[in-house]
């Protein structure tokens, strides 16, 4: 971090020479109405000399992020690129308050550390603000419908991120809202985490296509999102889960289809040792999540899927260990792996921030 002084804070920033231009389309930033939707939006630069120039395409403007299949592979590649560039700005300490005056509403039915703090800090870094509404802050309990809540919030804020127990509530929310709605984790999927993980994989390996990711454990919402998002980007996915906790057939069908069209493969097995062979990334999630009542039975069923040094040794020599956190050491992963040299869990957590900021820029630009 640079030593700060007011002189530095008020002086105009010169756009860095390396600021890449994302698209070859003409950048006519003055004309953003109607027909200009296919052009790029230029943020900062000559328009606002205190901010470095930054370009995003407006094709994701106003879009929801509810499930992994909401974005095409092309669009996923684009948000990964934007996240990489916004991360570079953040790392070099350059101001990037492109969303000044914008507000993000946060509706959270469950507690959250990463999703919440990364969105709140991300909005602050982008010059906007976030309004957090926990389950006790909302009047939903007093009988206001989700649809009404969504319509009203749409009149006050510019986007909503919601963490709900039931994915159908999220769909209702998005249907009634006239602003972008993002899925901050539902019982069905966790697309924001999967997108951030793709960014992390891209950073670790320099490419996505051709990689193999093995997920060990519960065939839950996280596994579903990883399968769909990875398949779309040409990353092969193997899921090793106990017979009772397999991934749902409709997700599997969809992922198979995506994989076939993007040069990847999808495998389902119950054998962890076979699954990790040749893997570039080994991923796991907590064995017993919040609110699950059958904890003891799950723990027993999932015990063989714990990520150990022995399993890591079966994967590629350069393989990484990933976890969406929070983590229970020595339950789903041994401490030596979790805190070892192959672990990139905190990079994953950090990339949530950059990915959220990229999505906010794309949907609100």
């Amino acid at each position: 971090m640079p030593q700060f002084s007011a002189a530095q804070a008020v002086s105009p920033q010169t756009p860095p020479a390396h600021t890449p231009i994302l698209h070859s389309v003409p950048t006519v930033s003055q004309d953003l109405s109607g027909s200009a939707m296919d052009r790029a939006v230029v943020l900062g630069g000559p328009q606002n000399t205190t901010l470095p120039s930054f370009t995003v395409s407006p094709r994701l403007r106003g879009r929801h992020v509810l499930v992994d299949t909401d974005f095409t592979p092309d669009e996923i590649a684009e948000v990964i690129d934007t996240a990489t560039r916004i991360k570079r700005l953040y790392r070099s300490g350059q101001p990037h308050g492109y969303l000044a005056g914008k507000t993000l509403g946060m509706i959270f039915q469950h507690p959250s550390t990463r999703t919440r703090v990364s969105f709140e800090a991300g909005m602050a870094q982008l010059g906007g603000q976030a309004i957090f509404l926990g389950v006790n802050d909302l009047q939903m309990k007093r009988g206001e419908t989700i649809g009404d809540t969504a319509q009203i919030l749409s009149r006050y804020v510019d986007a909503v991120v919601a963490r709900v127990a039931d994915h159908n509530d999220l769909v209702t929310l998005a249907t009634s809202a006239s602003i972008p709605v993002m899925n901050g984790l539902s019982d069905k999927c966790h697309p924001l985490q999967a997108l951030a993980d793709l960014l992390t994989l891209q950073e670790s390996f320099g490419q996505l296509s051709g990689l193999k990711l093995t997920y060990l454990g519960d065939g839950n919402n996280m596994a579903a999102s990883l399968m769909l998002s990875c398949a779309a980007m040409g990353v092969s996915v193997t899921v090793a889960a106990p017979p009772t906790l397999q991934i749902s057939p409709d997700i599997l069908t969809h992922a198979q289809w995506l994989a076939n069209h993007n040069g990847a493969t999808i495998e389902i097995t119950t054998d962890p040792a076979a699954a990790v062979k040749g893997a570039d990334a080994i991923y796991t999630d907590v064995h017993v999540s919040m609110g699950q009542l059958d904890g003891a039975a799950r723990a027993v069923a999932l015990a063989p899927y714990k990520v150990t040094s022995e399993l890591m040794a079966e994967a590629n020599p350069k393989a990484v260990f990933m976890h969406c956190l929070p983590m229970h050491r020595d339950e789903e992963v041994s401490t030596t792996v979790a805190d070892g040299a192959q672990s990139i869990i905190f990079d994953q957590a950090e990339n949530r921030l950059h990915m959220h900021k990229a999505l906010l820029l794309h949907t609100l630009c």
Binding site: A121, A124, L325
Partner: protein, 221 residues
């Protein structure tokens, strides 16, 4: 101590300008404040001077948003009025933002270690202010963090309160050395911090209280 002299106009003129500027000694950059003894006497005096300058800027309505785009995380195990509001309002006045997380908001209850939470927070925010019961939890949190951690009260000490009290004494008496400070009552976290902070800046400290409520021997030493 604060280098206000280098190429700068006299102080009065400076406060009139639309954007005041200030130069800091970078010695405290990235430093956590967990114990009263984390700061040297010189550093304490520098912070007090900086506080006085910032107070003047605020009173004169001079913008001083030097932390634009920065965020402070507040992790509070216990309720708080002054520490919370002062940090949140302070961040806003400096152009940044504060994120408040009460105990119900955090996943600490879900078995995530304090060090893990601190490591993740460090990737999102630029500083963390913490209020916890045990100083050992604070130390564990700071060990996992890669950004500065501020002690917003533990059952052992309250260094930030003591720092601002030293600032108040300085304002009131114009000096610190040679003052005598008498503390009456419970020999608690507050008295421990005051004792150490006063001693560091040359204020004589006297404690009077019932035998069984005497301050901790460790703090006296």
């Amino acid at each position: 101590m604060i280098d206000l002299a280098t190429n700068s106009p006299p102080e009065e003129t400076k406060l009139d300008s639309a954007t005041a500027w200030m130069t800091f000694d970078p010695g405290l950059h990235g430093k956590s404040i967990l114990n009263d003894t984390d700061l040297t006497p010189v550093e304490i005096l520098r912070i007090v001077e900086t506080a006085a300058t910032l107070k003047k800027l605020r009173q004169n309505h001079v913008p001083h948003a030097w932390l634009a785009g920065k965020t402070l995380g507040l992790i509070f195990q216990h309720p708080s009025t002054r520490t919370r509001t002062a940090f949140q309002a302070g961040m806003e006045q400096l152009g940044g933002q504060a994120i408040f997380l009460g105990v119900d908001d955090l996943q600490l209850r879900r078995g995530e270690t304090i060090a893990d939470t601190a490591a993740i927070f460090s990737r999102y925010v630029n500083g963390i202010a913490v209020r916890v019961e045990n100083l050992s939890d604070m130390v564990e949190l700071a060990s996992g963090a890669t950004v500065p951690v501020f002690n917003g009260l533990t059952s052992t000490n309250h260094p930030i309160e003591a720092l601002s009290d030293v600032f108040t004494l300085k304002e009131r008496f114009g000096k610190l050395k040679g003052l005598k400070f008498a503390y009456l009552g419970d020999g608690n976290n507050m008295s421990a911090s005051l004792m150490q902070m006063c001693a560091a800046v040359g204020v004589d400290f006297a404690y009077a209280g019932p035998e069984k409520y005497r301050p901790d021997a460790a703090a006296i030493a």
